[in-house]
Symmetry: C2
Subunit: 349 residues, 2 copies
């Protein structure tokens, strides 16, 4: 099969790789229908996150079950499935608490499993998925128009949802979303869906502002830094928002989050932190709550799937570039150069 | 009147001071019946928190209303009142959100108010209380045996309660309390009262262990540092507690909190942070929640007052030393030398 490889220094290639097969009785092999490029893939592409040696890449995909191991009970060949961005058993104590990213037996796509057997990346023609029952969500019926939104559930929509859950967005709340990438836009959608009365999106880019409004943003703040904080204060009567959804992970965005949250407010952060400092004195002095982390996509997926299939949310609108797998290099480039919010790869090439 | 003064370097004196009078129409003057020494007073006594110039000290007191300003509506001379450890209007947006420590018009005892008028400290014979309607809680009926518990509500019990609220302790939860001072012991009581199935108190001191058990601790861990973390892991089946109530504020205690919380768990912290670092990567990687700060005692007081008067909680047991105001120096010394958990001062001297 063909699959995308990430090389040291961030070079992307599409290569011939061994077809995945069932290696463990709990495995499924999935033929990929569509895959996506993640903002976190770009950290490697740009050389910010080191890539020690060449490895398969991609962790956002949907597809069709081709084969299952003998212990798999909930899936059958021919099933259309959505794969959350990590695999997990969904039965260990951590999973039962809804923290599947901390699954005792789980792992990441593109890295060896705990027995040392290779697990494919998602940006390829097929993937061996370990712990298939605990990982994959079967979609009973859908039409082609749902495909981008189903793909968005694998990561960005689940992560945006996690930002809103972590920030305890509720009916009537005022929420500010920092970050206008695909996750930030999905966080706007999540906050709106959870009943926030006011959703303020911080974005400088007109196409993203437009999508934020379509996703339910009631206000846009284009300024950053101190000017951005002043604009938020102005919009919230000097008090600050109840909930801040931090979807970047940089020192500056976190500083903004702490600068704007009202006393007693909550900061939900889902951007992978890069040299971020959390100011204990500010949290203490203003009674803030800070929560967040790697989204438990597997936990949220059943509910989000219903919302997509019922036409209640359409997170697939974050994909503004669609290419065949063969053009995966351009899919990365377009996102890197901010020509695209998010790239969808049709598979096979 | 006589009142306690804190001098640079941490010297304590009992001095003659002007009797407080009504200075603003929203004031009340309270004749103090009993006052307490707070762990945070000790930071100044020990020279850890600098004292730039002599000032009245004390912020935990109960007493009888002696006079009220013309705009005071809920209080009358002769009322017995409990004073939360900060004064607040209880009507501004921050107060309405239940974050009275961030009151726009509030302040601390022992420091000038916003008009520059002096406000007395609590460890004296009388106190001018600004914004009396928003601050003081009237106790309709009580007997002498309730007095220590009513005094405990002014700060330590409210703060322990805040630790449990911040750590989202709920029925069936496993909670660990770090710190066996009066606040930590009250946090044990709060966690138990909120229905925690298991309350693990970390304490090395036998009398405090005994009180922790009386307050509902199901387990005691005497070890600290890595040994303490290992003991907690052992007690919680390797998973870690749902809730950690951090009641110290030191770098070591916070490190322990992050070392033990289960994935998806919550750390509620009420110890004033001293050179504490909050590890963003750990929070992110394990989906932790960190919340806490200065307790909104005014918010919790009505409910806690009912619990005391109904005999449901007896937080006054944290007082293991009772002295007349004239012996305030010994009240500090005994706590500083850990001969007493907490000192109660009977007023007048």
């Amino acid at each position: 099969m063909k699959a995308t490889m990430m090389h040291p220094g961030g070079t992307i290639t599409l290569e011939e790789r061994p077809d995945p097969t069932i290696r463990r009785p709990t495995d499924a092999v999935v033929t990929v229908t569509a895959a996506a490029v993640c903002g976190s893939d770009l950290w490697r592409y740009r050389g910010v996150t080191p890539v020690p040696d060449a490895r398969p890449i991609g962790h956002e995909f949907v597809g069709v079950v081709e084969a299952v191991g003998e212990q798999v009970r909930t899936l059958h060949p021919g099933d259309f499935v959505v794969a959350p961005f990590r695999w997990s058993d969904n039965t260990c104590p951590e999973c039962r608490y809804g923290v599947q990213p901390s699954c005792r037996n789980g792992g990441n796509y593109g890295a060896p499993d705990r027995e040392g057997l290779p697990v494919d990346g998602g940006q390829g023609e097929a993937v061996r998925v370990p712990l298939a029952d605990g990982t994959l969500i079967k979609v009973v019926e859908h039409d082609e128009s749902h495909l981008p939104s189903l793909l968005a559930l694998t990561d960005v929509m689940s992560t945006g949802w996690h930002a809103a859950v972590s920030a305890r967005v509720g009916p009537g709340a005022t929420a500010v979303v920092i970050g206008d990438g695909a996750v930030g836009l999905c966080a706007v959608l999540a906050a709106s869906r959870m009943g926030a009365h006011r959703v303020i999106a911080m974005s400088r880019h007109e196409p993203r502002q437009r999508l934020a409004r379509a996703f339910g943003a009631t206000d846009i703040v284009a300024e950053r830094g101190a000017d951005g904080e002043a604009a938020i204060a102005e919009l919230t009567g000097g008090l600050g928002p109840d909930s801040v959804l931090e979807c970047v992970g940089s020192a500056q965005s976190m500083q903004t989050a702490f600068g704007i949250a009202r006393p007693g407010g909550v900061i939900g952060f889902v951007g992978v932190p890069h040299e971020v400092e959390l100011p204990a004195e500010t949290i203490f002095g203003r009674n803030l709550t800070v929560a967040g982390g790697i989204a438990p996509a597997r936990e949220y997926l059943p509910r989000l799937l219903d919302l997509v299939l019922d036409g209640e949310i359409e997170p697939g609108r974050v994909f503004d570039l669609e290419l065949p797998l063969a053009e995966v290099g351009e899919a990365y480039r377009a996102m890197d150069e901010r020509r695209a919010i998010k790239s969808l790869l049709r598979v096979p090439a």
